[in-house]
């Protein structure tokens, strides 16, 4: 038995529950960026919420994969949250602005203020917003929290917090943007490319300034469409072949017309996502002419697809960075952390949650 390992303190487990996969990451507390355990498992039900069976399986997998403790931090689902940029009077203090934000977000979410939890953070004043105090607010109804936490609590997990994906991603990406240095004029666009959709975040070293869902067809939808066109193999086998091809693994053995079509399609998606990023960057520059786009950062499952990244590189005037362990400065030398991939950036950010 390794007594030293059992005595080491751990962070809460960051759980990113997607439609297709669940990612979990845990850090060694007090050891900087050292990841103690990381695992990803495929979901068995195509539902937004976890089923009881999936929760039990998750618990077993975490136990076997080197995770310790019951404390978890989960991300609120973007489709269940209300997100809005709210403006208050210029002279308003935090308490007054908080009251304005609560009523405004509750109104947008069509809920009683008492039935909703709200988080907000101030935004920098731009030339057009100098006369007001502006902030970005996110709200989640108690019913939404219940649906998210219920299945986890049923199998003995102890939820510590429900974080927003924006702040969780910012927590891991910000150090790479120089968050510890005085705030500079630079900002970055972060795109989280998931199986069922993509989201765009505009952030600087100190805060998330803006977020929105992208209208682009989901990656999974596009791949399924190609699969249906050629469709001789089962979806699972086909995906495996395509993913191997696009990431360059064993490309020579599997070279086929299907792979060429998939690569071209992914490159097109990449170019469209880059165009969206460029539009947001241009908008940010109009608000603050002194600022500049530092980087386009890509995370989520799509970040592992090489043709997608190539497509992005050609469509944006900034370097494209993938949220892998090296870019984020994460230490993945532990044996249980070997499974870390760019799709786990959100889970890593959740595990870094340090509030009360």
């Amino acid at each position: 038995m390794n007594l030293t390992a059992n005595l080491t303190r751990r962070s809460p487990i960051g759980l990113d529950i997607g439609r297709r996969r669940i990612h979990a990451v845990q850090f060694d507390a007090g050891r900087g960026q050292r990841i103690a355990a990381a695992v990803s498992l495929t979901r068995t039900h195509d539902t937004a919420e976890l089923t009881a069976e999936e929760s039990e399986r998750l618990q077993n997998v975490l136990e076997r994969s080197g995770f310790r403790g019951r404390a978890v931090v989960v991300a609120a689902r973007p489709e269940n949250t209300v997100s809005a940029a709210v403006q208050g009077p210029a002279g308003a203090n935090d308490t007054q602005l908080d009251a304005v934000v609560r009523h405004e977000v509750a109104r947008i979410g069509a809920a009683e203020p008492g039935q909703m939890e709200i988080a907000w953070w101030p935004l920098p004043a731009g030339p057009r917003t100098a006369a007001v105090r502006e902030c970005l607010a996110v709200g989640l109804t108690h019913a939404g929290s219940e649906a998210l936490l219920g299945p986890l609590e049923a199998v003995g997990f102890e939820p510590r917090a429900i974080d927003t994906p924006a702040t969780a991603l910012h927590r891991v990406v910000a150090p790479a943007l120089g968050a510890d240095e005085p705030a500079g004029p630079g900002f970055a666009v972060l795109i989280d490319v998931g199986w069922s959709g993509a989201r765009l975040y505009l952030l600087d070293a100190r805060r998330v300034r803006y977020q929105r869902a992208l209208d682009e067809p989901a990656l999974g939808q596009e791949l399924r469409a190609i699969s249906a066109r050629f469709g001789s193999e089962s979806l699972g086998q086909w995906e495996k072949v395509v993913l191997e091809l696009v990431t360059g693994v064993e490309a020579d053995e599997h070279a086929s017309p299907v792979a060429a079509v998939a690569q071209a399609s992914l490159a097109r998606i990449g170019a469209r996502l880059a165009a969206e990023a460029q539009t947001s960057a241009d908008y940010a520059r109009r608000r603050d002419p002194d600022s500049a786009l530092q980087a386009l950062v890509v995370c989520g499952g799509g970040a592992a697809l090489a043709p997608l990244i190539s497509g992005m590189e050609q469509g944006v005037d900034a370097p494209v960075t993938v949220c892998d362990a090296v870019s984020l400065g994460l230490d993945v030398r532990s044996a249980d952390a070997a499974g870390y991939d760019p799709g786990m950036a959100l889970a890593a950010g959740l595990a870094r949650w340090g509030g009360r």
């Binding site: 949250t81 939890e117 988080a119 953070w121 929290s145 939820p159 927590r171 100190r206």
Partner: protein, 196 residues
């Protein structure tokens, strides 16, 4: 990084419930550790004093044995035991205390902007033949008698109280404005313990 970088969208009541549970778990662990250390100390003390006499049964009955040392050892152990029991009672007392902060937060939430509370008393005394129950006496100001009545309804809706009674409403003055003073008596769910 600013202080709002770690938001928590979990309902506050749930966060508080987990916090209380964690605190109780910590107390239990501390108490267990304390008891184990105490037991080990007692055992070593006993072994140190009884060791030489146990080595030779003859010495216990020997005319030279000092009965005073046995009496001293017994008294020391009794004092140690009493000290440990007192400590355990203190820990149990702290752990068993109801968290009135939750009640205060509930009142603050339900009073909203229409009601101002002036006095809030929790009474745990038994009355006559009634079983022991907590009583909450509230004294405050409302914008109108209707606001006071609504406050009573909201308190009833929380489900925390067995009964909520509006005892009195009267005209009152608040910085020159005409408002309604009120007194409310609430009875909380009964407890089985004999001490609060």
């Amino acid at each position: 990084m600013n202080k709002r970088a770690c938001p928590n969208l979990m309902p506050k009541a749930r966060v508080e419930a987990y916090r209380v549970a964690r605190r109780k778990r910590l107390w239990r662990r501390a108490l267990t550790a304390y008891a184990v250390v105490g037991a080990a100390a007692c055992a070593s003390l006993w072994a140190a004093h009884s060791g030489p006499s146990a080595a030779s049964a003859d010495t216990q009955t020997a005319p030279g044995a000092d009965p005073q040392s046995v009496v001293d050892l017994k008294a020391a152990l009794q004092r140690e035991l009493a000290s440990r029991q007192l400590e355990a009672q203190r820990v149990a007392l702290v752990e068993g205390q109801p968290d009135f902060g939750v009640l205060m937060r509930l009142l603050a939430q339900e009073s909203r902007d229409t009601v101002l509370l002036r006095r809030c008393v929790v009474d745990a005394r038994a009355r006559g033949d009634e079983p022991l129950a907590y009583r909450l006496e509230l004294d405050g100001l409302a914008g109108s008698p209707r606001d006071a009545a609504r406050f009573v309804l909201r308190l009833e809706d929380t489900g925390v109280f067995d009964s909520v009674r509006l005892l009195e409403t009267a005209k009152a003055d608040l910085d020159g404005a005409q408002v309604t003073g009120f007194r409310i008596s609430c009875r909380l769910a009964q407890r089985s313990e004999t001490t609060p």
